[in-house]
């Protein structure tokens, strides 16, 4: 749900990073936080367990400058990827404008990716969205690992509607901004249609 404040000339949009546990959603946000100059970013908030697993969400507000005289703010959220945090995931999807799915490229995680996409589809429906129409970008993370499944094969298994797809290594930042930019583009393009 985009929030357009005409009084203060601001557009606020919400982008959610979704995907299986330990796939690199928080690492994506961490890299964006590290590489964004101070005035454009707010605090990175992580509600995590003692072992750094996301418990509720991570949150990073980004201010990207003006578009047609309106300040654009993106609120980036990650969901907890672990299966048993499903109730929390549903809450975070409320009011979402765009979803970035962070898939883990390791062979052993392919089933988890597929299951997480199914879970996303279900949870979006519950919130009244449709995965077929919502702004959606796919990221193949951990391309640097030797056990990474070939991109073509991953595309066949995980790409659901020809959505923009990016290879990434979130730890080094490869592909991180490209993914975010594609999502922001989709979300802002949606605004045009309204």
């Amino acid at each position: 749900m985009t929030f357009i404040n005409y009084a203060q000339r601001e557009i606020n949009c919400k982008i959610v990073y979704y995907g299986p546990g330990l796939g690199g959603k928080t690492t994506n946000l961490q890299y964006i936080y590290d590489r964004t100059p101070a005035p454009s970013k707010g605090k990175l908030i992580s509600l995590a367990t003692e072992t750094d697993r996301t418990l509720f969400f991570d949150f990073l507000p980004l201010e990207l400058g003006e578009i047609r005289g309106f300040k654009t703010r993106f609120h980036l959220y990650t969901v907890p990827g672990q299966v048993f945090y499903d109730a929390s995931r549903k809450l975070i999807l409320r009011g979402v404008d765009g979803v970035i799915f962070v898939a883990d490229s390791q062979e052993a995680r392919m089933e988890a990716n597929v299951e997480s996409i199914r879970n996303l589809d279900r949870n979006l429906k519950e919130q009244g969205y449709d995965i077929a129409t919502i702004p959606y970008v796919l990221q193949f993370n951990k391309r640097d690992l030797p056990t990474a499944v070939p991109v073509d094969e991953m595309y066949l298994r995980l790409n659901i509607k020809g959505e923009p797809t990016f290879e990434a290594t979130a730890t080094t930042g490869l592909g991180v901004f490209e993914t975010l930019k594609a999502s922001a583009r989709q979300v802002l393009t949606e605004l045009k249609k309204k």
């Binding site: 919400k14 454009s40 509600l47 309106f70 975070i92 009244g128 922001a184 583009r185 309204k194």
Partner: protein, 165 residues
């Protein structure tokens, strides 16, 4: 899908006035209004030492989690949350089922006073949000036309520029 929240100057000023009155009447430090999705709508009071963006997001997360708890035990919602600290306290309540009113206060005020004043402010704010809803309903066409103004012409270059800076 939930409808986009659009706020125009007239309603924004009314909201700010209601919050300002609450701030003074309740002797609070900070009063702010957040959308249930974590977007800050308006804030009044001393914000110099506070990260209000994070505050908004965490408040919404808090309310969302509490809503989840309420439903689990068969309640519609818990309409008031209260967190007591050593010096400062936070009073959170739901307005018009859609927005969250947050009051931060210290020992200059009491919980009783805050609750009382919040109740009055809630009625005022609900009237404003009803008005917004009515306006959106009755002027749907106008709203859409106005919306088309600035955003229908967003170009790829505009979007590229956002990331080049």
């Amino acid at each position: 899908m939930s409808q986009d929240l659009v706020l125009y100057d007239e309603e924004f000023q009314k909201i700010r006035q209601a919050l300002q009155r609450l701030l003074e009447d309740a002797s609070a430090k900070l009063v702010f209004l957040v959308d249930k999705n974590g977007q800050q709508i308006a804030a009044v009071g001393d914000m110099s030492s506070l990260d209000t963006t994070s505050l908004a997001s965490l408040t919404a997360g808090n309310v969302a989690a509490t809503d989840g708890l309420a439903r689990l035990i068969g309640e519609k919602e818990f309409s008031i949350l209260f967190h007591e600290g050593e010096k400062d306290n936070i009073h959170i309540s739901i307005v018009a089922r859609r927005v969250i009113l947050v009051v931060i206060f210290d020992d200059r005020a009491s919980l009783g006073l805050v609750r009382l004043r919040v109740r009055r402010a809630t009625a005022e704010l609900e009237a404003v949000f009803d008005e917004i809803a009515r306006k959106v309903e009755s002027q749907k066409v106008t709203f859409i036309t106005e919306l088309e103004g600035p955003f229908s012409e967003i170009t790829d270059e505009d979007i590229d520029r956002l990331f080049s800076e």
